[in-house]
Amino acid sequence: MSSSTTDTLVRMANDISNFFRIQPEDQAVAGTADHIRRYWEPRMRAKMAEHLTHGGSGLNAIALKACERACKSVSSAPIYRGGT
């Protein structure tokens, strides 16, 4: 995915966390991470995981923690490579 896609994912993660930030931080991180796990296709989570390996710039504090929780376990989407 291109850098513009990464920017989109960073914005999406921040937007999600901005909804949950009114809650106590642990709940906000959990809520954000759960939302990402439930609604982001593995490619998106894998791309975010890749971004995290470079520091996750642009992510706010809650989004950063949530992405580390929701995305790092995703590999670089192997099920989408190599045929049906």
Binding site: S4, T8, P42, Y80, T84
Partner: protein, 950 residues
């Protein structure tokens, strides 16, 4: 008068409306005993006893009027001959409807009518469907003693201005049915009786012709007319229909029932079906008249292929087209992976078709890359209502509005976008319900004949959540909470947290005034009015959902309704006004990438096991790509093949350039549609679709009502979407076969608990049902959350106002918001191909006089509309409907390119685009934008080689 339809349903006009009362009265009519609710007219009671009293000015869709003097009866012990339409039945009455005296009186009345009426029945367009003709026969009229040479109206000039119907004053009997229909049913008050006595004539507006008047062409007057005075031009041209089929309209989410009336396989009229539970016999200009697109000359009826979008289309056989799609999609998956293809289901297609598309994608493509156009409209509704209440749907039926005391319309424009429901809402307001409108723009509902909003909170686009929080602040801080409801129905801990949150100063009306521009006293007054109820109902549209906080706003509305106890009975609730005919259904059917039918997440093992067992294949536990993310993945090179069913993503989705870039990066795009739409310009395969007239199935409207779609004519392309999907899936290695759409619904019922009791047989028996329809509710559920919420305890969720990232500034100082108008529908693919074009032949930019003057813009000037995303141009319309700093346009014409300027900001939860807030600048221009010039080029290369497939 009754009509036997092709479906075996019989429609009887009982002359006056049905009355409801706990008290029953028993009377005798022509020797027959009949018991009716108190308040029922003698005419209606007689009809129930099988006795049809002659009538002309009476029809049961209108209140009795008592003008024609034909329905006179005699009542034992009473003097005179009262009109049976205006005389209520009373216990012990003995009524005679046929006596010599009555016969003489009726013949005398008919003589007067006929003395001023053309005697050309044989050549009259209403011949065979004329109540005047019927009544002349019924009363035994044989002569007119007055002759035909006296003063008359026979030379009156016919008004043919309306594209769909004519008004011939010569044939008018001034029964006022049209005027009353316009007032009572439609609520527009466009018609009147001008003049007095013999000079009385029906007049549209101030003696204008119909086209120039305030008439909205709903057809209610035509429907009500007992003669050929107001009649459809198609009937004038073709004659009376031979058969009819009851079906469901394919326009908006109201889901009106219609009788498609036909001669052979040609539709000659669409008549609103009186027993339709969504529309009760009413219609709008789109459903009633704008159906000609179905046989428009631009319909594509043969499959087409091309190796590149730069080439001309080539007509091929169905086999060649579908073989090619299967082959290409298999090639793409082999090369790029199984996640490299996906599809989009249509909210215009039937439940059965959308169900099969998502099934094909999940079971045959082996991924969850399925999404639907609800993504770009009401996906936040699903998220917000499921989060708070437990179900992704509106809470009420439409009839519920009849018991509302306070109606709050938020970000919706019902008179334009949901006109049939708007008419009922207006009727309720005329009966005394109060109205609050929350909208950046002065929609018609703010002030329209006999309807005025008590409060119009004219907020700035993007400040919805702040306003909702302010309303909640007043409810909580002024002690207006329904504590009994909260303690019985909601989670108390979550309520307490919410109450503390909304009580904060940042949510006070005084603070929110600075954000929204709405004066604090207005916010406070509106909140008090809503809390006071006692029945307060929220109706909302895309002005709520299409924001970066769309889901938050849905949650905020649900919070507000819970706090005031406005759930679980008639007259209340949170009610989305869905945009497209089957947007509710397409969501119900599992069109979202993360959930199966019935809104069950793909990661749930038990749910997945159910579908794996039913479908016989392993299923992916991970969510698939949403539409915007499909474009992102395409640009990144990992998404290469897309099947698009009945959806014009290029015109309807935001940031057109990004959509186009995504499509250009794909290797096989399949468009399955009626017309070569804007998306087809990027496609490699075109599969001709079938219109709603050509297939069987169901649509689900905004009130969760499943209505039958019945095949009226054969599919023009030879195959319906259902046939095509089955064949494509089979070619892909996952055989599908259904003999009829009813078999698909049977499968849906087997795998979806909320649909467990739905079948075509039940729909045919009941007319329609509202889900949940199952063992607990075998005949459906009009009102949800009675007694308890579907999720158990109602859940209050904190809704912090977070400003959108889309900000105005020196370069882009204005806020653009978008919407639609009455005569056109969404991207206009249907309505632009009908005479509706006379009302709206181009999209224009509404701009406030102050903003126009500052820019030297005059009415009708071409202006450039520029945002951070792109630029387009259109003509300016200067109006105070919009407030200073806000501009507005529609998106019905591809040439206007409204979505070239909208951004790719989306709702945080669902990815629904933020169409309603775009920072723009407007300036004078004298040329089209570069994007518009490119569009012209694309249209030119959309040519079709005339070599027919062998």
């Amino acid at each position: 008068m009754s009509l036997h339809t092709g479906n075996g349903f019989e429609v009887i006009d009982r002359g006056t409306p049905e009355r409801k009362s706990e008290k029953q009265v028993t009377l005798e009519i022509d020797g027959q005993s009949v018991t009716v609710p108190a308040g029922t007219s003698i005419m209606h009671a007689a009809s129930l006893a099988g006795i049809q009293v002659p009538k002309l000015c009476a029809t049961d869709s209108l209140e009795p009027f008592g003008s024609c003097r034909l329905c006179l009866v005699e009542i034992a012990g009473r003097n005179g001959t009262p009109a049976s339409c205006t005389t209520p039945a009373e216990s012990g009455m003995r009524v005679s409807t046929q006596t010599d005296r009555l016969a003489r009186l009726r013949r005398g009345v008919m003589e007067l009518y006929i003395s001023d009426h053309p005697l050309d029945c044989l050549t009259c367009s209403a011949n065979g469907d004329c109540e005047l003709q019927d009544m002349a026969g019924a009363v035994g009229l044989r002569d007119v003693r007055y002759g035909y040479d006296g003063e008359n109206h026979l030379d009156a000039v016919k008004d043919e201005s309306n594209p769909y119907f004519t008004f011939d004053p010569a044939r008018c009997i001034v029964c006022s049915r049209c005027v009353r229909a316009c007032e009572e049913v439609q609520g527009t008050f466009a018609l009147t009786i001008d003049g007095r006595g013999f000079a009385s004539v029906v007049s549209a507006g101030m003696n204008e012709d119909f086209l120039d008047s305030e008439c909205v062409s709903c057809g209610a007057c035509v429907q009500a007319c007992p003669t050929a005075s107001l009649i459809e031009k198609t009937i004038v041209q073709h004659g009376q229909p031979q058969r009819s089929v009851i079906t469901t309209c394919a326009y908006c989410g109201v889901g009106c029932s219609f009788e498609a009336e036909l001669q052979g396989n040609s539709v000659v009229r669409m008549t609103p079906y009186k027993d339709g539970k969504a529309n009760h016999g009413h219609s709008c200009v789109k459903g009633r008249f704008a159906w000609g697109y179905a046989t428009h000359k631009e319909r594509i009826t043969k499959p087409m292929l091309r190796s590149s979008p730069k080439e001309a289309w080539r007509e091929v056989t169905w086999d060649e087209a579908l073989d090619h799609v299967a082959s290409e999609f298999k090639r793409i998956q082999a090369k790029y992976g199984r996640g490299a293809i996906g599809g989009i289901t249509s909210s215009r297609c039937t439940n059965e078709e959308t169900y099969l598309v998502q099934k094909m994608i999940r079971a045959a493509f082996h991924n969850n890359n399925v999404d639907t156009c609800a993504r770009v409209c009401h996906s936040p509704t699903g998220y917000g209502l499921k989060t708070t209440l437990g179900t992704s749907a509106g809470t009420q039926d439409f009839d519920s509005v009849n018991e509302a005391d306070l109606i709050m319309v938020i970000g919706a424009n019902p008179t334009d976008a949901h006109p049939v429901f708007a008419s009922r809402m207006k009727r309720r307001i005329r009966e005394g319900a109060k109205l609050i409108v929350i909208d950046p723009r002065q929609i018609d509902l703010v002030r329209t004949p006999h309807v005025a909003a008590m409060h119009h909170l004219q907020l700035l686009p993007g400040s919805n959540v702040a306003v909702a929080n302010a309303l909640a602040h007043v409810v909580v801080t002024e002690g207006l909470v329904n504590t009994k409801f909260i303690s019985e129905r909601c989670d108390p801990t979550e309520f307490e947290a919410w109450a503390q949150f909304v009580s904060r100063e940042e949510n006070s009306p005084e603070h929110v005034e600075k954000i929204s521009g709405v004066p604090a006293p207005e916010l406070r007054a509106a909140a008090r009015l809503y809390a006071k109820g006692p029945n307060s109902a929220i109706y909302y549209g895309l002005g709520v959902t299409e924001h970066s906080q769309g889901s938050t706003m849905v949650i905020a509305m649900a919070n507000l309704a819970m706090a005031t106890g406005n759930f679980g009975r008639n007259g209340v609730g949170v009610n989305p006004l869905r945009g497209q005919n089957n947007v509710q259904g397409s969501c119900d059917m599992g069109s979202f990438p993360h959930e199966f039918s019935g809104y069950r997440h793909v990661s749930e093992d038990a749910t997945r096991a159910l579908f794996e067992s039913a479908w016989g294949v392993p299923l992916d536990p991970e969510p698939g790509l949403r539409i915007p993310n499909m474009f992102d993945a395409a640009v990144d090179g990992t998404f290469k093949g897309l099947y698009v069913q009945g959806e014009d993503i290029v015109q309807s989705d935001p940031n057109t350039q990004h959509v186009a870039a995504g499509l250009e990066a794909m290797e096989c795009i399949v468009v399955h549609d009626l017309f070569l739409n804007e998306t087809a310009a990027y496609a490699h395969v075109f599969l001709p679709g079938a219109s709603f007239l050509e297939k069987d199935g169901t649509f689900t409207n905004a009130e969760r009502r499943l209505g039958r779609v019945r095949k009226a004519i054969p599919p023009m392309a030879g195959m319906t979407e259902l046939d095509v999907i089955c064949k494509l899936s089979t070619l892909f290695g996952y055989p599908m076969h259904y003999n009829h759409a009813s078999e698909v619904m049977d499968e849906i019922a087997r795998v979806t608990p909320t649909f467990a009791g739905v079948s075509f047989a039940k729909l045919d028996e009941l007319g329609s049902v509202q889900w949940p329809c199952n063992e607990k509710a075998p005949e459906g559920t009009p009102v949800m959350h009675i007694g308890s919420f579907v999720r158990g305890k109602g859940r209050f969720v904190l809704t912090e106002y977070v400003p959108t990232d889309e900000r105005t500034g020196p370069r882009f100082p204005l806020l653009l918001t978008t919407g639609r108008i009455l005569s056109q529908y969404n991207v206009g693919a249907q309505t632009r191909r009908t005479p509706n074009i006379v009302w709206h032949d181009e999209d224009v930019l509404e701009i406030h006089p102050h903003d126009a003057e500052n820019r030297g813009i005059r009415e009708g000037d071409r202006v450039a509309l520029v945002s951070r995303s792109g630029e387009t141009s259109m003509r300016a319309h200067i109006t105070e409907r919009v407030q200073p700093g806000v501009v507005y346009t529609t998106f019905h014409h591809p040439e206007s390119g409204a979505n070239v300027v909208t951004t790719d900001y989306t709702d945080w939860a669902t990815g629904c685009p933020e169409y309603k807030v775009t920072a723009v600048e407007v300036r004078l221009t004298n040329h089209e934008s570069s994007w518009q010039e490119r569009l012209d080029h694309l249209h030119r290369i959309q040519r079709i080689e005339t070599v027919a497939a062998e």
